[in-house]
């Protein structure tokens, strides 16, 4: 737990009084304090290329009146600086006459331990694992030409002080271990990437030499791609594997169901509440409460405990994801989805762990049902245009399917679809739901936050595959 006022000329009491004074006629707002420590250790090209440590401290002061948000942040926690921020907020919201909403739900549940993962493993141990990774992969044959591996660790302490002095706090650990490998055969180069992570110690992910399985997976993807042929171009059936390919759900429907875009009516989903937006059997939730997952949060960045929010139930649109501002303006409640990258940024409604739940079919049944199409197993990133609803994602491991059988691997291609209609094209939902390995970061309005995804195998009847083979 950080004591934000320990080395400051500003006492907690004085801060509380400035906060209450600034927010008295506002509808909402808070002082958000953050202290984060992070490290990055990178092995690349046979060497430890980088070892760096970052310590960041600051506050963000927010005042909301009706739809207007005033925000001011600084990395100096002092009387002067908070007073200056208060003046800034007051000058933006000149003649406010709201009533501060003191209501904030409480919960005693915690979804991760209060640890500092950086301190739990020594620098020398981390360097040793990175060197072992390098030696292990390079011992797999001459085709391995480049190995990159890194540790990213963080501990972020946050405190939210609301008008009247109510205080909410959270300490969030986060780690990620990544391996990327480039292989070369007959002059052709391909790469493969894999990683693991979440809100636990490094050891939880790497014990029993589990780092070897991360290496094996990265090398397997790279090796498959060495044999890949040009991808087809045009509309066809697509089978998605379980787990990480759920970034399709994240891009295709997740962003479109965030409260701000729907309040502003700029999402393709804004007028579809209660309507059928997906095939029967499709249920999608956004869950911040799964233990130790990358996208989980004990409380969101406004202090609201997170929850399991049902977005689509058996094909019907049920809920949007809300922060306090958008919930108030849409006359509903926050779903604990208010997040920010750090104290420099305003809160936005964001996803946590977005998951499509299991159905009844098997992956084999799906493959058999396809006469011409592709089977996509792993992806790079994705992106969506909220307004038109069009979204893309990039395959990093995919195969052609011909007459119900998996054929040759195909080159990385972009898949494009239409968010509001794609889930109606889902004709089979698998019984094999899987979480992703804990590596996702979602970007919105220039802010990156850690998220998770999950899904079973699914069969989509029609999607456009962006290959080069006509």
């Amino acid at each position: 737990m950080s004591n934000f006022f320990k080395k400051s000329d500003l006492s907690r009491k004085e801060a509380e009084s400035i906060i209450s004074d600034t927010l008295q006629k506002c509808d909402d707002g808070e002082l958000y304090l953050e202290n984060s420590k992070s490290e990055s250790i990178l092995l690349d090209d046979n060497k430890i290329k980088n070892s760096s440590y970052n310590s960041d401290l600051g506050f963000g002061f927010r005042a909301i009146s009706d739809e207007v948000v005033a925000y001011s942040h600084s990395n100096e926690i002092s009387k002067n600086s908070l007073k200056q921020s208060s003046e800034n907020l007051k000058s933006t919201l000149k003649s406010v006459k709201g009533t501060y909403n003191h209501e904030i739900p409480k919960s005693n549940k915690k979804y991760y331990d209060n640890i500092n993962p950086i301190e739990q493993k020594s620098l020398n141990e981390k360097i040793k694992i990175l060197n072992d990774v390098n030696d292990y992969l390079r011992s797999k044959g001459d085709k391995v030409k480049q190995v990159t591996a890194n540790f990213l660790g963080e501990q972020k302490s946050v405190e939210i002080i609301r008008s009247g002095g109510e205080t909410l706090s959270d300490v969030r650990p986060l780690v990620r271990f990544n391996v990327s490998v480039m292989v070369e055969k007959n002059g052709r180069k391909e790469s493969g990437v894999y990683g693991v992570g979440g809100r636990q110690s490094y050891e939880s992910y790497l014990k029993d030499e589990n780092w070897k399985s991360v290496c094996d997976e990265a090398l397997r993807i790279a090796s498959v791609n060495l044999e890949s042929k040009p991808a087809p171009a045009g509309e066809m059936k697509v089978v998605l594997g379980p787990g990480w390919p759920a970034i399709l759900i994240h891009e295709a429907v997740g962003h479109g169901l965030e409260g701000d875009f729907n309040r502003k009516k700029t999402s393709a989903f804004h007028n579809l509440m209660g309507q059928k937006v997906a095939s029967e059997g499709v249920t999608i939730i956004d869950d911040g409460t799964i233990d130790n997952r990358r996208g989980s949060l004990t409380i969101d960045d406004e202090g609201t405990p997170t929850e399991k929010t049902v977005l689509i139930e058996n094909g019907i649109l049920k809920n949007f994801m809300q922060d306090r501002l958008n919930a108030r303006l849409m006359k509903t409640r926050s779903t604990g989805s208010g997040r920010r990258e750090n104290y420099r940024h305003i809160v936005l409604p964001r996803m946590r762990n977005t998951m499509m739940l299991s159905g009844k079919q098997t992956q084999e049944e799906m493959i058999k049902a396809v006469d011409k199409g592709i089977f996509a197993v792993s992806f790079g990133g994705g992106q969506v245009d909220i307004t038109s609803g069009k979204f893309v994602f990039n395959c990093t491991e995919a195969y052609e399917i011909i007459d119900g059988k998996i054929g040759s691997p195909i080159k990385g291609a972009t898949l494009i679809g239409d968010g509001p209609s794609i889930l109606k094209e889902v004709s089979m939902v698998g019984n094999d739901m899987m979480m992703d390995p804990g590596i996702g970061t979602c970007g919105k309005a220039g802010q990156g936050v850690p998220v998770g995804v999950a899904q079973p195998s699914i069969l989509i009847d029609k999607m456009t595959v962006g290959g080069t083979k006509l």
């Binding site: 090209d45 970052n54 960041d56 001011s72 800034n88 991808a231 307004t387």
Partner: protein, 438 residues
Amino acid sequence: MVKDQEFLKKKASYCLDLAKKLGATDSSVVVKNSVSETVNFRNKKLDEANRSDDLGISITTYVGKKKSSISSSNLLSDNLNILIEKCLETTKNTPEDEFNSLPDKDLLAREVKDLDLYDDSHIANNQKIDYLKKLEAAASNDKKIVNTESSFTQNKSNFVLANSEGFCDGYKTSSFTASSVTVAKDEKSMERDYEYSSKCFLKDLDDADELGNLAANQTIRKLSPKKIGSEKIAIIFDKRIAKGILSTFASAISSSAISRGTSFLKDKVNQKIFSDKINVFDKPDMLKGLGSRNFDSEGVKTDTLKLVDHGILKHYLIDTYNGKKLNLKSNGRCGGTSNLYFENGNISFKDLLNSNSKSLYITETIGHGSNIVTGDYSVGATGFLVENGEFKYPINEITIAGNFKDIFQNITLANDLEFKYATNSPTMLIEGMVVAGK
């Protein structure tokens, strides 16, 4: 107010002195302060006002050939003491790398020219509001526009870069940025588009009406798009997309990708990678240039480079570390390019549209579909079908794909280059790409 050079230099030399005292054989430090004020409007009303004041420091220490770095936003002396101590401890425990070093002394920038990168004028929030009111009035003129979101940001920054070889310099920069994102709707569709202007000097910023009108028109024309069939077709990239091709080119010739062997342009210096007529420049000393700089992020002087001469690759973008690895001297490109651009081609925009009886004019791409290891390219796209030089109808939900090795050889440029961003291209025609649609 943004902190002055004297304050930043004092912090920098404090760190260098302390690092030396604690056993660093070399060190470098960057201290930066950035103050920005943003006002956002939505549907002609104030939506958000945001002020940020960021002060940050990053320090790299060397012990022989060992290196490590730290960064922090807390510049109080007792915090710096703890961090620099931690940094040196980490440095000593990090394995040696023979290529780790500060830049060669004779490559460091000697003089700092005034490149006209700082405008002292201040635009108060109520003046920003006046600008945005005018902008949003223009943007929402047409009934088809159902949502407008506009923004005005003033940013003032100052920095100092110092190292233990005696380099210590920095300068102020400013930027004024206005943008507008509009949503248009008709019975069949809802579309979004934008327009944007960013300048070092306030007086150079685009007119509010003009910006609003452009944003609205660019959105309205996208309504009721169609999807087309899959085929091989000539692609024309709007300038805002064409510059992305240059950015990919820049990452593929960065010395780090070259030395790691992870670029499709490795070993291509003095080879023809573009069509004959293509010239690419990186010019750091442009007055008021959005990418202008006096030296790179290691303090190395930067000269103008003709990266591509009549289709032939002439230089990589080299920093100290990767330069030593490749046995090449740094050309001042640590941190990337400055003002990077394709020289104008010799046909007009109109002639470019007319050069094929049928082509696709692309105004937006989505997805991260550029692979610099293989050169493969595949992205989602939005644009217009062009027939006999005329825009026929909007298209979306398609992808375009190819490989940069072929794309580069098949580029024709118009003569309409503007310096709107740090990286700029004229309108670009590419033959031979594959569109996937229906």
